[in-house]
């Protein structure tokens, strides 16, 4: 720019030429962060909001009474004083109103917040199926099952679609390890048996962590599909050589894994409900453990410490009776607890859970007055 005396037009032209700057953050990540902050603020808000509400409610009450007063008394002498008296008089009504609008306030806040993390049978539309993928975290400490819901076209099998989606997973975007696709192929032998053929150059035998991660992921991925057994191959030869256990030529898939589910947070703001594979003996043991963190695995408690309950089972139905309903609040913490219990119940072989004495009839989309079906897949993630 030779001319040091600029015109307004030139500045305008330069301003218009400024580059467009885009957000590189993923929508899902941002969404989770936003939701986390909102639920985090809920509690704080509740404390501060009450005094304002008391005043607001008193005013509303005065207004209501004054309206009815004016309607009922055609000849009124000094309505205002009388109104005031009446307003002061009925304290219990006042409190009730305060409570109601406190709840209303929270509901306004929550209807937009309480989303399920898992996928349930009723969530599926026509032709939609679930695809679960166990993905290791960055440290290979946990294998985190995530669920993709996708349509399967008529000329395609579930497994075809499974193999397709495997290539589309964006693990790193979700804060996890870039694990898929497998270094090998998954194919069908019969309705309950699959074949996993590792490539000759596979790295699954390099360490015991690689080995366990492969086995756990195969178990996670296929246990919901009626698969009972996976035969392992290296190319066309039976068996995969592992550094730790030697050669393994098949793994059994169990539906009952006796895991407890904990919360896991990734560095970029995702949260997942993750099975801690400790094989608890009883569900009671698992649920108790879920009140504490498991620091060695970066897993956080999914049930608040102060919440206590008893459990009872009748066949496929597990009943969880809470001791103190006032401790169950309509917030995302409770949602996570309910979903963690449902997933744990599933891993112990239950089909439904009935929550009683919660003090709530609904929580998010859950109808707590009826038994709730266990999820068909944990940690729903949407992919493009």
């Amino acid at each position: 720019m030779n001319n040091k005396n600029l015109h307004d037009e030139e500045i305008e032209r330069l301003l218009k030429a400024m580059p467009k700057i885009k957000d590189i953050q993923k929508k899902e990540v941002l969404y989770r962060k936003v939701m986390q902050s909102i639920t985090h603020e809920e509690k704080k808000k509740r404390i501060f909001v009450t005094p304002k509400l008391v005043v607001a409610c008193a005013l509303i009450l005065i207004a209501i009474i004054s309206l009815s007063f004016l309607k009922n008394n055609e000849i009124s002498i000094n309505p205002y004083n009388q109104m005031k008296e009446e307003a002061n008089y009925d304290n219990s009504a006042n409190n009730e109103l305060e409570k109601n609008s406190d709840q209303m306030e929270n509901q306004i806040l929550l209807t937009s917040v309480l989303e399920k993390m898992s996928v349930y049978k009723d969530d599926l539309l026509e032709n939609e199926r679930v695809f679960v993928y166990g993905i290791p975290d960055q440290q290979f400490q946990n294998v985190i099952p995530i669920t993709i819901v996708s349509k399967v076209s008529q000329d395609q099998s579930w497994l075809d679609r499974y193999n397709q989606i495997m290539k589309l997973l964006q693990e790193e975007e979700w804060g996890l390890f870039d694990y898929y696709p497998y270094e090998g192929n998954v194919s069908k032998i019969d309705n309950s048996t699959l074949k996993f053929a590792a490539k000759k150059t596979h790295s699954y035998g390099n360490s015991s962590i690689q080995e366990t991660t492969l086995i756990i992921s195969l178990m996670e991925n296929f246990r919901g599909q009626g698969i009972k057994r996976i035969e392992l191959f290296t190319e066309n030869n039976p068996g995969i050589d592992f550094s730790h256990t030697g050669t393994i030529d098949q793994i059994e898939i169990h539906n009952i894994n006796k895991n407890g589910y904990f919360l896991y947070y990734t560095d970029n703001g995702y949260q997942f409900l993750v099975p801690y594979r400790n094989m608890f003996n009883t569900i009671e043991e698992a649920l108790t453990a879920m009140k504490s963190d498991i620091e060695t695995h970066n897993l956080y408690s999914s049930i608040p410490k102060h919440v206590s309950f008893s459990q009872k089972d009748s066949g496929n139905l597990l009943t969880i009776q809470f001791t103190d309903p006032s401790l169950i609040e309509e917030n995302s913490e409770s949602m996570k607890m309910i979903e963690a219990i449902l997933l744990t119940a599933k891993d112990f072989g239950y089909h439904q859970v009935q929550f009683t004495n919660t003090g709530l009839t609904t929580l998010g989309e859950f109808n707590l007055s009826q038994p709730i079906d266990v999820p068909i897949g944990p940690n729903r993630i949407k992919i493009d």
């Binding site: 040091k4 600029l6 307004d8 305008e12 700057i21 957000d23 929508k27 941002l30």
Partner: protein, 176 residues
């Protein structure tokens, strides 16, 4: 995903982000601020009365978030650097230039740096009017101002920018 978030994001996210980015000139801060915008939006959406368009409403929230941000930042600066002559140091940009800018011509880079010497009001007008290409009346709605306030502020902003650019170009010329 919440449908309000989904819709607003799809329609306006990049505009809002860009607006905040040019105000703070720092990607991380802009990310934090845009997050704050959605938090306020989702909390208040039930009270959104539809008196203004959704876009206007969203930007007015973004504007408030930015104002709060600078208020906090200034309070912090005041506490830490009470005797520090801030004005003298304003041009030494603390942030490295983002790639989008370094790829541009020299004048654009210079202008980008000079933006910081405008007031917050001036910056907001410049971003909305020129970078986002909004009309005077749209800008007025977003900022909750009268159209004449937009015009005056825009005029002053351009003048201020021009003066600063000229000074810097002269200096650069002398050095060369």
């Amino acid at each position: 995903m919440n449908s309000v978030f989904d819709r607003l994001y799809e329609k306006y996210h990049h505009d809002v982000f860009q607006f905040l980015y040019y105000l703070v000139k720092n990607r991380e801060q802009a990310e934090d601020l845009v997050q704050e915008v959605y938090i306020r939006v989702l909390k208040a959406y039930d009270r959104f009365e539809g008196k203004s368009s959704e876009k206007t409403w969203l930007f007015s929230i973004a504007r408030n978030v930015a104002i709060d941000h600078f208020r906090k930042q200034n309070a912090w600066k005041d506490r830490i650097f009470q005797r520090f002559d801030w004005k003298q140091h304003q041009l030494t940009d603390r942030e490295p230039l983002p790639e989008e800018i370094t790829l541009q011509k020299e004048e654009i880079q210079l202008l980008y740096r000079c933006l910081d010497l405008c007031t917050l009001d001036q910056k907001m007008v410049l971003i909305l009017r020129y970078i986002q290409s909004l009309s005077i009346s749209e800008t007025a709605q977003m900022l909750g101002w009268s159209e004449s306030k937009v015009k005056t502020t825009q005029h002053r902003a351009l003048k201020a920018l021009k003066k600063k650019m000229e000074t810097l170009l002269t200096k650069a010329g002398e050095k060369a």
